[in-house]
């Protein structure tokens, strides 16, 4: 591990560009959490199926994100692609649950 780090050349990153990219990703992921919550509500998922659907939706969005950045060229835009999937996933999960229960109540209960 240490040798691997040693061999890599130092790269200067532009902070404003990183912040711009991460804010775009954050915006998209919040929207995706809300919209996938609405979808789960419409589908009438209950219990663990809803949680599984959230995981599927977020992973699907992650692949779309990598597809937009370019399968090979995502390193030009992000430092780590794992953090794009993992960062703040519990916060988004609560957004998801909010929309899920709301739309489930609107469509299936009333």
């Amino acid at each position: 591990m240490a040798t691997k780090v040693k061999n890599e050349p130092f790269v200067a990153y532009s902070e404003s560009a990183i912040r711009n990219n991460l804010s775009i990703v954050e915006y998209c992921r919040t929207s995706v959490a809300a919209v996938s919550g609405c979808t789960a509500g419409v589908l009438g998922l209950t219990g663990l199926y809803g949680a599984l659907f959230f995981i599927v939706a977020v992973t699907g969005f992650w692949f779309m994100l990598l597809g937009k950045a370019g399968i090979d060229s995502w390193k030009k835009f992000f430092i780590s692609r794992k953090s794009l999937l993992i960062n703040g996933i519990f916060g988004h999960f609560f957004t998801y649950i909010l929309c899920w229960t709301f739309i489930y109540g609107m469509v299936h209960v009333y």
């Binding site: 790269v11 200067a12 990153y13 532009s14 404003s16 560009a17 990183i18 711009n20 990219n21 775009i24 915006y27 998209c28 929207s31 995706v32 919209v35 996938s36 609405c38 979808t39 509500g41 419409v42 589908l43 009438g44 939706a57 699907g60 969005f61 779309m64 994100l65 937009k68 950045a69 030009k76 835009f77 992000f78 430092i79 739309i103 609107m106 469509v107 299936h108």
Partner: protein, 114 residues
């Protein structure tokens, strides 16, 4: 590629389709209630429409949100030329002899013409 009208309309279509699917699901639910049936699963067409509209909205949001910038600090320096660096606005001089000379020149030119 910045967000265009097409991407915004894709997003709108996705939301409309999701709303339509939700309305259909609500109607299906009221149909079941009126006929005293139990809810087992949604009809397949509503299910598919909901999933497809989710993916349409995901795509639309991704395109509307904006473009990524390259995070390397040298990325936007690479396509500049030497002329850009030699251009120093603080050293611009506007009140130089050129104005006077051209005034004289034009005056003498006018006199010659007259």
């Amino acid at each position: 590629m910045p967000a265009t009208f097409i991407h915004r309309s894709i997003l709108t279509v996705g939301f409309l389709s999701l709303f339509h699917a939700a309305y259909s699901a609500a109607q299906h639910r009221s149909y079941l209630r009126l006929n005293d049936l139990d809810f087992t699963h949604l009809p397949l067409d509503i299910f598919i429409q909901t999933l497809i509209s989710l993916f349409i909205i995901m795509y639309g949001v991704l395109q509307v949100a904006g473009d990524f910038k390259e995070i390397k600090a040298s990325a936007d320096l690479e396509d500049r030329t030497w002329e850009t660096y030699r251009n120093i606005p603080s050293f611009y001089t506007f009140s130089h002899r050129g104005g006077k000379c051209s005034q004289l020149a034009s005056k003498s030119g006018l006199e010659e013409i007259e």
